[in-house]
């Protein structure tokens, strides 16, 4: 309904189409692979954005990132399923399902307790994976070559192009859906819950249920991102998928991106990925110094994240209503 009139959706469609076309015809392979990784992370950041708008920050979403990644990897390893049309929805469902179960506990907490409880749950999964030798313990294991519609790709370069187009399509779809969600009554509950829980209850809506729904949504998106990441890297291991540093990275990119738009996570993730690559080149032993310094600058000078530069350039308001 009114999809054509919605400027954000038009913008997202043009943006993602342009990025996809540029990628296929112009961009070098290294940039393609960085974009795939960046956009996989962006899906998780999109989930965190929904929570952030509700005034909640999770320091443990690597739990869902890892669940998504391991779901994809384990489906290949134990069931011989490498069809992405099965593995990626499965990753989304598993993460969303676990999010739904844990949500009953987590929805009772706010602020630092919410953040840390998530961290605690993610550390439990990390611990289990590290101790599970059949899953390769700390080394993890490799992910089967993915297929799409049952067709595999013969060369690494072809695989990269297919993945790239795939993540552009999924990223676009996720961004459009989350945007529509944020425009809905349920979406508007983000502002409402963040600003005044008492009023929400007295308007006749359960704050706990509102938070629970948003939490499941963020978990599912993060699982999808993790699933993509597993395929992109061709390998899963606890350190790079479930460790608290992964959660930290997601929060980092969320702040870098800003809550202003569903496009922000994709732009922010790409900037983060490139920033880290160049920082590692310039200062191999201390790239964190550059990345951390950048975050400080963002917090001091761009509290609305990189999106605030773009929205200013377009002469728009800071946040969507």
């Amino acid at each position: 309904m009114d999809m054509i009139k919605d400027k954000t959706i038009v913008g997202l469609t043009i943006g993602f189409a342009a990025v996809a076309i540029l990628g296929v015809f112009v961009m070098p392979d290294w940039l393609l692979s960085q974009t795939v990784i960046a956009f996989a992370r962006a899906l998780a950041v999109l989930g965190l954005l929904v929570l952030w708008r509700t005034g909640l920050v999770s320091f443990g979403h690597a739990l869902y990132f890892g669940l998504g990644a391991y779901t994809v990897a384990m489906l290949g390893r134990y069931f011989g399923i490498s069809e992405v049309l099965i593995t990626l929805p499965a990753a989304t469902l598993v993460a969303g399902g676990i999010g739904f179960v844990l949500g009953f506990v987590i929805r009772r907490y706010r602020e630092i307790f919410f953040a840390m409880l998530n961290l605690a749950f993610s550390m439990v999964l990390f611990g289990i994976l590290v101790k599970t030798e059949s899953l390769g313990s700390t080394d993890g294991f490799s992910v089967e070559q993915p297929t799409l519609f049952g067709i595999g790709t013969d060369t690494a370069s072809n695989k990269l192009v297919v993945m790239y187009v795939g993540i552009c399509v999924v990223g676009w779809l996720a961004a459009v859906l989350v945007h529509r969600y944020l425009q809905s009554v349920l979406g508007s509950l983000s502002t409402a819950v963040r600003d005044n829980e008492i009023r929400v209850e007295y308007l006749g809506y359960s704050v706990a249920e509102a938070i629970h729904g948003k939490y499941v949504m963020s978990a599912a998106l993060t699982g999808l991102g993790g699933g993509f990441m597993a395929i992109a890297l061709g390998q899963v291991d606890p350190e790079s998928m479930v460790n608290w540093t992964v959660s930290g990275e997601l929060v980092f990119v969320t702040i870098l991106s800003g809550p202003g738009s569903v496009a922000a996570p994709f732009i922010g993730s790409l900037i983060f990925e490139l920033l880290r690559t160049y920082a590692t080149e310039i200062l191999p032993q201390g790239w964190q110094l550059i990345v951390g310094g950048t975050l400080l600058l963002i917090i001091f000078f761009l509290p609305g994240g990189v999106w605030s530069i773009i929205s200013k350039a377009m002469g728009r308001k800071e946040a969507e209503p």
């Binding site: 529509r180 009554v185 349920l186 409402a192 963040r194 005044n196 007295y202 308007l203 006749g204 209503p321």
Partner: protein
């Protein structure tokens, strides 16, 4: 006619403190009731119990014949009892218009599917604009709620309580924090709007002039008990009310001025 609200023998204790003691109230449709009492007399506790924020230790509350004792606030709201707050509860980062839009959106939501409809739709926008006019806050339509003057914020709070078109509205100190000069203007707007909507009103108030002017019936609270339940013409000259609620001052104009001054003296609170 059967009462719309029937409170029977409710008690509330917090440890050793008794906040409500054997309260019995029967409210008829369309009544306007003033709840008076000194700070800590149990007025807000009463409002909190009727709206589900607190569960009475014993006793029952019936709304339209249905037992609502101990129900969650959101369920009671859905049934048709709304409230405003002593400290206005609004969405502080949203504009006045968006506050009403979100409130209307939630009130209209009956299922997950209806909650997924876009918030900005013509029907809701018209109703939001109507409420803005009815509560005379249309000049502040696009102002962010945290920047509003106290009186406007109070009006927004009440307008938000009315989005669900409740049958009973409880106002917790609608004029607290409002200057003496503005009180009557505010109450005129509120009471005429509420009359238009045809809602039964119970409001907590410290200013006896306001009570005298707007209510049909007074409930006077003292130490968790109702010590007087009568029309204002009787209640405000009741010796017990004067002693325990208004203060043991000489009756007449002087007493009223004193009462008005007392309530104008700043923040009051009874938790």
């Amino acid at each position: 006619m059967s009462p719309i609200l029937e409170v029977t023998g409710i008690n509330k204790t917090f440890g050793a403190v008794t906040a409500a003691k054997d309260i019995n109230v029967s409210v008829a449709n369309d009544e306007i009731i003033g709840i008076i009492g000194a700070n800590g007399a149990g007025k807000t506790t009463f409002v909190n119990m009727v709206t589900g924020w607190l569960e009475p230790t014993t006793g029952s509350i019936k709304f339209d014949g249905r037992d609502i004792t101990g129900m969650a606030p959101r369920r009671i709201t859905r049934l048709g009892i709304s409230r405003s707050f002593q400290v206005a509860q609004v969405f502080s980062t949203a504009t006045v218009f968006d506050n009403l839009m979100i409130a209307l959106g939630i009130a209209e939501t009956t299922s997950i599917l209806s909650a997924l409809r876009p918030l900005r739709r013509a029907g809701l926008e018209q109703r939001a604009d109507l409420l803005l006019k009815r509560y005379r806050i249309d000049d502040y339509r696009d102002a962010v709620a945290s920047t509003l003057p106290q009186g406007v914020r109070k009006l927004l709070d009440i307008a938000m309580a009315m989005v669900s078109e409740p049958r009973i509205l409880l106002l917790d100190e609608p004029t607290s924090g409002i200057s003496v000069e503005e009180k009557f203007d505010l109450m005129d707007i509120v009471m005429s709007a509420l009359k238009e909507e045809g809602v039964t009103v119970l409001f907590v108030e410290h200013d006896m002039e306001i009570v005298e002017r707007y209510v049909d019936r007074v409930l006077a609270f003292y130490q968790g008990e109702i010590i007087c339940d009568a029309p204002p013409s009787e209640a405000l000259i009741d010796p017990k009310v004067i002693e325990f609620v208004i203060g043991d001052e000489p009756q007449g104009q002087m007493m009223r001025e004193k009462a008005a001054l007392h309530t104008g003296s700043g923040e009051t609170s009874d938790a």
